[in-house]
């Protein structure tokens, strides 16, 4: 395995396998459907499975794998993107977690209270901007959001689960 698939392709291989699992799930779920409803999804599903298998083969460190890669890419050399991704792993996790926290906070408390807090922390704590600059930027952005959506369009932004529960 170690020799067949170089270490630098390992993450792509995992993604290929996840996509393969999704395709197989769709094909399996199609079994209980009406023949017309499943015809095209099953066709696309098998087609995609075939493509994923070819991609897995193309990543193998064999003569056939390299030939397959060349046929589809028009080049004999692969770009190595995974190494770059591994170098920044910590900051990537930080970015995903921070944005996910924002989404969950919006779901709980709504856009209007969460956006200024999120913006201020991003600028002041993570960006090392001055408190005054962070406050002014946050206030201006909030004013734009409020004026455009709530005032000009008369559109009520999501108020959050907590507000809904309190209202109930």
């Amino acid at each position: 395995m170690e020799n067949l698939f170089p270490r630098r392709h390992r993450a792509s291989l995992v993604l290929d396998l996840l996509l393969l699992a999704f395709c197989v799930t769709i094909i399996a779920l199609s079994a209980g459907l009406d023949s017309r409803a499943k015809l095209f999804p099953v066709l696309v599903g098998w087609f995609t499975v075939a493509l994923i298998v070819i991609d897995i083969v193309a990543q193998s460190d064999t003569g056939f794998g390299r030939a397959v890669f060349t046929f589809f890419s028009g080049s004999a050399e692969a770009e190595d993107r995974e190494v770059e991704a591994r170098k920044e792993a910590r900051s990537i996790v930080h970015a995903i977690v921070w944005i996910s926290i924002f989404v969950v906070a919006v779901w709980l408390f709504g856009f209007l209270p969460v956006i200024p807090v999120y913006m201020f922390i991003s600028m002041r704590v993570f960006g090392n901007n001055s408190t005054l600059r962070s406050l002014i930027t946050t206030a201006v952005i909030m004013l734009i959001i409020w004026a455009f959506f709530e005032y000009a369009l008369d559109y009520t932004l999501y108020r959050g689960l907590v507000a809904e529960l309190i209202a109930d």
């Binding site: 993450a11 792509s12 993604l15 996509l19 395709c23 779920l29 199609s30 459907l33 009406d34 017309r36 409803a37 499943k38 015809l39 095209f40 999804p41 599903g45 995609t48 493509l51 070819i54 991609d55 193309a58 060349t70 046929f71 589809f72 890419s73 028009g74 080049s75 004999a76 770009e79 993107r81 995974e82 770059e84 991704a85 900051s91 990537i92 930080h94 970015a95 995903i96 921070w98 944005i99 996910s100 989404v103 919006v106 779901w107 856009f111 956006i115 913006m119 991003s122 600028m123 993570f126 960006g127 090392n128 901007n129 952005i141 959001i145 959506f149 369009l153 559109y155 932004l157 999501y158």
Partner: protein, 506 residues
């Protein structure tokens, strides 16, 4: 023949103070909605439709024309500056526009996109004027087998445009098609692949997915990388001369501009296919005919001109089936159709025969608004380009906030925000592992069209696949699909053969 009386009546309507006011308002609203990722022309028209009820029908149509003409122009601005297409068809502009911004050529790219948009818009309208008498024959050439093959070509051409990643582009496209099948099946009404989640009954919505794939994924990337969008801020030149040089580029590359506009108008005229396919097809063709295809995706200005001219030209094209047959050429046109109906104007042959003044009003308003949108965008390009110098810790939360509000506001559904987050993470993983993201939204758009036209084709052909090769448009489309798939291999073979004699000489 041009109905001169109707043209004169339309001109009279447009030069009134009230009409010009609504045209300006519509253009500005369109520009604002175009710049905010996820909002776009469809949302703007949908939000403003109830307001037009109290307005004169001419004013309402002029307001809508202002929006329709300006959203694609400003949608390119965010595509170039933050790799986030303001509207779906602007996604192709990201491919070369964003690398240009990273190289400090944002002004050049904005100048080129605005001018290409303006020219494309004008050519699309010229096409609309020219083909109104023969629209029926053109649209009827395309039956379900041709629609299916056109959709396949659209998907394959996008995968090819990712250059060395055709295989992975097709994999992501296949994955996107499977995702597009989630929810109600249009023929049987059966709910498919909902995993027991009620939210999925209507399928995954395109706009939240797009916002995730482009805006959120790019913001995760920018946050992880740190700094600003421009890799070397000292290289960023935001002077007016750069913008002017960009304006000249569509004239310098006039072949690309004309080709892109022609593709845009033709694809726009086909119901349901839309501007996204037009823009990507124009981009792929530009690569195909280029003497330096390797420079695409790395900041080639032709890669900005081609999709932007196609994107704006499609507005004129998509009005053809909307007005002549009442068949909307895109989601935006479907909403616009509602505005016409609201004002007692039944689209179809009746409007062409009895209300040519309305059609001329629309054509003239689109022309003026397109030019106006380009001028406003060009005028503000210098300041807009400064966005690329903002530090990620300031820019990311602002873009995330606007993007997620856009995601929520379309359907007032908070779960759409989670969909955006999910697609954002997926888009980021795709981006980092060399899987092109661009085929995913195309597949989400085309999934329904492909399935419906495939099933209809089989029904017409009594269950045999022969139906896909019976007409000459089908055969041409199949040839184009095969050519696209074999293009990388042929290119490699050609390059190898060319380098062999040189090596022998050496």
């Amino acid at each position: 023949m041009i109905d001169q009386q109707a043209l004169a009546a339309a001109l009279g309507q447009l030069v009134s103070l009230s009409a010009l006011k609504f045209l300006l308002i519509g253009t500005i609203i369109g520009l604002v909605f175009g710049v905010i990722p996820g909002l776009g022309g469809t949302t703007a028209i949908a939000l403003l439709t109830p307001i037009t009820f109290a307005m004169e029908k001419y004013d309402a149509i002029i307001l809508m024309a202002g929006i329709m003409a300006s959203t694609p122009t400003s949608g390119a601005v965010t595509a170039i500056l933050i790799n986030t297409p303001g509207t779906a068809p602007n996604a192709a502009t990201c491919l070369d526009g964003y690398p240009m911004a990273k190289q400090g050529k944002a002004g050049l790219a904005i100048g080129a996109s605005s001018m290409a948009s303006g020219i494309g818009g004008l050519l699309g309208i010229a096409f609309l004027i020219a083909v109104i008498p023969v629209t029926r024959e053109i649209v009827l050439l395309f039956k379900p087998p041709e629609f299916f093959l056109l959709a396949v070509l659209g998907l394959v051409s996008v995968a090819v445009s990712t250059q060395d990643r055709l295989l992975r582009g097709l994999i992501v496209g296949g994955f996107g098609l499977l995702v597009s099948f989630i929810g109600y099946e249009s023929v049987t009404g059966e709910v498919r692949y909902d995993f027991g989640i009620e939210y999925l009954w209507d399928g995954l919505k395109l706009v939240p997915a797009m916002i995730g794939l482009f805006a959120i994924a790019e913001m995760i990337n920018l946050w992880a990388k740190g700094g600003s969008i421009v890799e070397d801020p000292s290289k960023q030149r935001i002077d007016f001369r750069q913008v002017l040089a960009g304006c000249w580029a569509p004239f310098k590359h006039w072949g690309t501009t004309l080709r892109g506009s022609a593709i845009g108008t033709l694809i726009g005229a086909l119901p349901g296919v839309g501007g996204t396919v037009a823009a990507f097809l124009a981009y792929t063709v530009a690569i195909g005919v280029s003497k330096d295809p390797q420079s695409f995706g790395k900041g080639n200005i032709v890669g900005v001109i081609a999709p932007e001219s196609a994107n704006n030209a499609k507005e004129g094209g998509s009005l053809v089936p909307t007005l002549a047959f009442g068949i909307p050429g895109s989601a935006e046109m479907a909403v616009f159709l509602g505005v016409l109906v609201l004002h007692g104007l039944a689209p179809g042959p009746t409007i062409v025969i009895e209300h040519m003044d309305i059609i001329w009003t629309l054509i003239l308003a689109l022309t003026v608004a397109g030019a106006l949108a380009s001028i406003i965008t060009l005028g503000s390009a210098r300041w807009l380009a400064k966005l690329t110098l903002i530090d990620s810790r300031t820019l990311v939360p602002v873009v995330i906030a606007f993007a997620l509000i856009g995601s929520y506001s379309l359907n007032n559904e908070i779960l759409d925000v989670f969909v955006s987050l999910g697609f954002g993470i997926l888009g980021f993983v795709f981006m980092r592992l060399g899987f092109p993201r661009l085929t995913l939204p195309i597949a989400l758009v085309l999934g329904q069209i492909m399935e419906t036209s495939y099933l209809q084709s089989l029904r017409i052909g009594d269950g045999t696949l022969k139906i896909f090769v019976t007409s000459w448009p089908s055969r041409i489309l199949i040839f184009c699909i095969l050519l696209s798939i074999f293009l990388p291999a042929l290119k490699y073979l050609y390059n190898s053969l060319r380098s062999c004699p040189q090596q022998a000489k050496g």
